[in-house]
């Protein structure tokens, strides 16, 4: 083997942030304090699917140390936000819908955390309840209530209900592929709602700096420039007026791609002129922020007796919950990865990103390709056993190599070492057996 020709690349350099994070010197959003800082807390939805008919904040306003309570009435011109579709309201107004338990109804700003919490607990609501849709299959049925009124939140090509987006994956001739097959294997795979669970809950400090005329936000974000643009369009201000200063972040795993405390902090500091801090509890974080999408994956695979894959038919139904977030991209990324690293000439696939009243689905490590991996590589094992082939040999026979074409029609011409990973794994297995 060649000696590493590099001085720094390829070496185990100690992480540049190791010292500050080990000594506690690193400043995370929740570590930031100002002398005259206020604390904000959000009153969340009281029902997963209902019209808000009445919102009584008088008792909250009467709590000592509560500075103000902000509702949609105070900011009627706010725009919805969202990573792909602008479908998520900053605050739910009267006669508007709450679509999941994380929707925000009001922001209580107080001198102390305790007063903010108490204020939230004293806000009273009256709602008109609607059918709660927790299952994406029910959401697609003809008589299901429609979760979003706006037509542009839906895929116009699909007559079924509550579908934010649908995608196709079509290549070759699926009938020919199944006709060539000696064995056809059909299975349904289902995955669950997952929480990314970074140790640090959503938190941050907002301060309207009147000298610079900037809303300064110290909030952990995976993409500050994208968050800045979304916040600015939601508030209806120029991008330059919104400044995100990234503190130390900590884990995110996809959960810090979405807006969380950002816009509420901006409103609270604009309203009070003071720095305001907000930190979610774990419960609030789990209910109000994105989840890994549960997928229902139906997979039908054709294979010859010699182990050559001939056809794949796949349907993916993804529950994106109340809002799209990254959902449309997550679900079709799953669909696009449905062959795994194996060459299949004939494919027919369809995916649906479906609204429900569950906590919304967003980004999480692997972005749809993780759920799909469970399906295709369980399927590969099942087929290998049915054919009586060694699972490793079966994979090797179908694996991509230089010049292979993916399910989406990309010719792989660089860095395609999947067969090398199989060979290396085999060697590791044999090494271990040799030791026994």
């Amino acid at each position: 083997m060649l000696k590493n020709p590099h001085e720094y690349v390829g070496h185990d350099v100690i992480k540049v942030d190791a010292e500050s994070k080990t000594t506690g010197e690193a400043v995370y959003p929740n570590d930031i304090y100002f002398d005259d800082m206020l604390y904000a807390r959000v009153k969340r939805a009281t029902h997963p699917h209902a019209y808000l008919k009445k919102l009584d904040i008088s008792k909250a306003e009467a709590v000592p140390d509560v500075v103000t309570v902000i509702t949609a009435e105070d900011y009627p011109d706010l725009n919805n936000f969202g990573l792909i579709l602008k479908d998520q309201p900053v605050l739910v107004g009267i006669d508007e819908k709450m679509r999941f338990m994380g929707d925000a109804l009001a922001i209580v700003v107080a001198e102390t955390r305790e007063a903010a919490r108490k204020g939230v607990s004293l806000i009273e609501t009256e709602v008109e309840e609607l059918e709660v849709i927790s299952n994406p299959i029910r959401a697609m049925e003809e008589d299901s209530p429609i979760i979003h009124k706006e037509k542009n939140m839906y895929d116009s090509n699909i007559p079924k209900r509550n579908i934010a987006r649908s995608n196709n994956l079509i290549k070759g001739d699926i009938d020919k592929g199944f006709a060539e097959a000696d064995l056809i294997v059909e299975n349904e795979y289902t995955t669950q709602h997952l929480e990314q669970l970074p140790l640090q809950n959503e938190s941050g400090v907002g301060y309207y700096d009147s000298i610079d005329d900037q809303i300064k936000l110290w909030v952990a974000s995976q993409w500050i420039h994208d968050s800045q643009a979304d916040i600015a369009q939601s508030l209806g201000v120029d991008k330059d007026k919104v400044r995100i200063i990234q503190p130390a972040i900590g884990g995110a795993f996809g959960k810090k791609e979405d807006i969380s405390v950002h816009i509420h902090l901006a409103l609270a500091t604009l309203e009070t002129g003071k720095p305001v801090k907000m930190a979610y509890s774990r419960e609030e974080s789990m209910i109000a922020q994105s989840k890994r999408h549960p997928l229902i994956i139906k997979m039908k695979t054709g294979v010859k007796n010699n182990g050559k894959l001939t056809a794949l038919e796949v349907e993916v139904i993804g529950d994106t919950g109340a809002y799209a977030s990254s959902g449309p991209a997550v679900i079709h990324k799953g669909l696009f990865h449905s062959t795994g690293p194996y060459e299949i000439e004939n494919i027919k696939g369809k995916s649906y990103t479906v609204y429900t009243n569950n906590t919304y689905g967003g980004a999480m490590r692997g972005f749809g390709a993780t759920q799909m991996g469970f399906a295709y590589d369980s399927q590969m094992d099942i087929i290998a056993h049915k054919l009586g082939m060694d699972p490793l040999e079966f994979r090797y026979k179908n694996a991509f190599e230089k010049g292979s074409e993916t399910a989406t029609g990309q010719i792989l011409n660089r860095s395609v070492n999947v067969k090398e990973t199989l060979a290396e794994a085999k060697e590791m297995m044999e090494d271990k057996e040799g030791q026994k």
Binding site: E7, V9, Q222, A248, M286, R365, G366, D377, V418
Partner: protein, 326 residues
């Protein structure tokens, strides 16, 4: 009774946003007044180590120790867009942007230094923050001094770099000749032990072969493999946010069970380095791929151990016991 089994998984991950989405990173490198080098990027470091990776890359290009570099945290008003820390893209995208910025700075240093030395451009070398004519270290000029002299003639000595690879949007059939910038592949072998009385599954051993082009920092790669796989074990065997009629029944860490140190198996990892990608020094992204193999690999190992096939995650003891009964 406890039964052992072994399961395999092979996965792929197309990384970067891809699909024609405008996806790029920008970075710059400045020479500070104290002679140190400052890297500016908005790339979020969520513990995966992008700040370390780009420091190593800049140190490599400028032949100057990593300790001489510092890096700013992102600020929308002082750093330029480096895209998101997601889609397994930062090493590849911001790594290349910083490499380009470092090369831009190096080119400028050579240009101005060769004027000072009267050498044939670019017959220059750099080492530890100094430039000198090839083989004549005693003649050295510091980067700071070169920047100062360039500044006197109104030139700002600063390296800037952008990496903006093309991908193409897909058609109505989901077809695109360049869907993603590149693909990472991985094969893993899981050894599990299933207790047929309780349905409990213990993951004993994980062997990983990862196709990553080039490991910029091998130890951090191993950390990603072990952390990602452990998170995948959570998905495979225990984690679920239970939402019934829109209500989360377990919104806390008592009810939402994740792997602890006691659930972490033994790991043996091999890094397949062909340095054959367009990433910096041939590197590919690995952050997301390393979580994918666990759930199929463990499902396959459970089948090997006790002959039951679970297709619904997570694979809880209840599901295993119910399947064993059938």
């Amino acid at each position: 009774m406890k039964k052992k089994g072994r399961g395999l998984s092979t996965i792929m991950f197309g990384f970067g946003y891809g699909e024609g989405f405008p996806d790029y990173s920008k970075a710059s490198i400045e020479i500070k007044d104290d002679g140190g080098l400052l890297i500016r990027t908005a790339a979020a470091d969520v513990g995966q180590g992008v700040q370390t990776v780009v420091t190593q890359i800049a140190a490599e290009v400028l032949n100057t120790h990593t300790s001489k570099f510092s890096i700013v945290e992102g600020d929308t008003h002082t750093t330029q867009n480096s895209g998101s820390t997601s889609a397994t893209r930062q090493t590849y995208f911001t790594g290349n942007a910083v490499k380009n910025a470092a090369q831009d700075l190096l080119g400028k240093i050579y240009f101005y230094a060769s004027k000072e030395f009267g050498t044939n451009y670019p017959e220059m070398e750099v080492e530890e923050g100094y430039a000198f004519p090839v083989g004549e270290k005693d003649e050295k000029l510091s980067f700071r001094e070169i920047a100062y002299r360039a500044g006197e003639s109104g030139k700002d000595l600063k390296g800037e770099g952008t990496f903006y690879p093309e991908t193409y949007d897909f058609d109505e059939n989901g077809q695109s000749p360049k869907t993603y910038v590149a693909y990472t592949f991985m094969t893993q072998i899981f050894e599990v032990e299933v207790d047929t009385d309780t349905g409990l599954v213990e993951v004993l051993d994980v062997k990983t072969a990862l196709d990553l082009g080039k490991a910029i920092n091998p130890k951090n790669v191993e950390g990603q493999i072990e952390g990602g796989t452990t998170q995948g074990i959570g998905m495979a065997l225990m984690e679920e946010q239970v939402i019934e009629d829109g209500i989360t029944l377990n919104p806390n860490m008592t009810g939402y069970v994740v792997p602890t140190a006691m659930d972490v198996p033994n790991f043996e990892s091999r890094l397949i380095e062909n340095s054959d990608s367009e990433g910096p020094y041939g590197a590919k992204g690995i952050g997301e791929p390393v979580i994918i193999g666990a759930s199929p690999g463990i499902a396959n190992a459970i089948y090997d151990a006790v002959g039951v096939r679970i297709t619904d995650l997570p694979i809880t003891p209840e599901k295993i016991l119910a399947a064993l009964k059938e």
